[in-house]
Symmetry: D3
Subunit: 70 residues, 6 copies
């Protein structure tokens, strides 16, 4: 399957915090930067996400904002 989402960022699952309907998944880029994702608890189970697993963070281009560094 190919999708219209423009962004597939390679990272690794670092931690998973389960809630009742949502879950917070902490991802880590190769250079150590962290990415935080909120998905449904069911997604974590369906994808069998576990710390150490290689995944892609997927983001639609219209969901990405830009900030200056100063």
């Amino acid at each position: 399957m190919k999708t219209s989402a423009r962004n597939f960022i390679k990272c690794k699952v670092k931690e998973i915090h389960q809630g009742i309907v949502s879950a917070e998944v902490v991802l880590e880029l190769a250079d150590g930067q962290q990415i935080i994702s909120i998905v449904t608890k069911n997604s974590v189970e369906d994808l069998e996400l576990k710390p150490g697993m290689q995944v892609n963070a997927i983001v639609k281009a219209s969901s990405i904002m830009i900030g200056t560094t100063d």
Copy 2:
């Protein structure tokens, strides 16, 4: 200013494609991975974005999906 957005990913502006109301900004991570962002044309002008500039890609945690790599 601190914000509730959980994700600030360091990257560099690579290319800017201007439309009439929107603009596509191609960003590059340190390891060469690309991130595509759609912002308003006015944002590109207000932030004075130019190729080579260091910026942050900012994403709300609830806008990040996860995909398996297989």
Copy 3:
């Protein structure tokens, strides 16, 4: 690839309207209901979208609102 996006709705491409950086894609469900999607112009080209093609409309669960019918 499996993704955390909970919604994959089967539909068919009906029309494509190209802008400069964005494109509006009109999709059609089996029962004739229409779905409108805004993606980047580059996505339309990469996926080689054409009228009549079978695709999935993919939506993250947190992007779906609910309205009453009255």
Copy 4:
């Protein structure tokens, strides 16, 4: 009230899973396909959502991605 949201998809409430601040609502299209929506727990109460109720899944066009079926 008319809104700029381009997508109103007719469906029926199938299941509701309540969390503390969020709720997962499982919707069903006429052809049996399911749609999963995450809304606030307060929305479920205000709209008095119940299994069997006819509703619309409402989605902004820029929140819809497209995936190929192969």
Copy 5:
């Protein structure tokens, strides 16, 4: 129709800038603060938006971030 969107902010249309598929609509709150919305060009036509018209800016709660003022 009632919707699960938690935010209906009363404002007035100030300016409309049409693109090819998207349009930028500048809204104004009672206290003079501005809100910028990107919708499809077709939405502007369907809602017959015009400067001076009273409207609601509608936002899903999960799309609102919070920033400190310092």
Copy 6:
């Protein structure tokens, strides 16, 4: 830091409802209108949000829909 997000709406924190991974923050505009935001529980802690605190509601332009008032 300047960001591409077009909307910074001045408001005050009114109430905070903590869940396990998410939190619902009720904000109030100067004219009394309310804004509801869902952020991660960690954001509430990092920003040290408390009732009475002045903040900005930040929204990307593409997340704002428009509704007519009739």
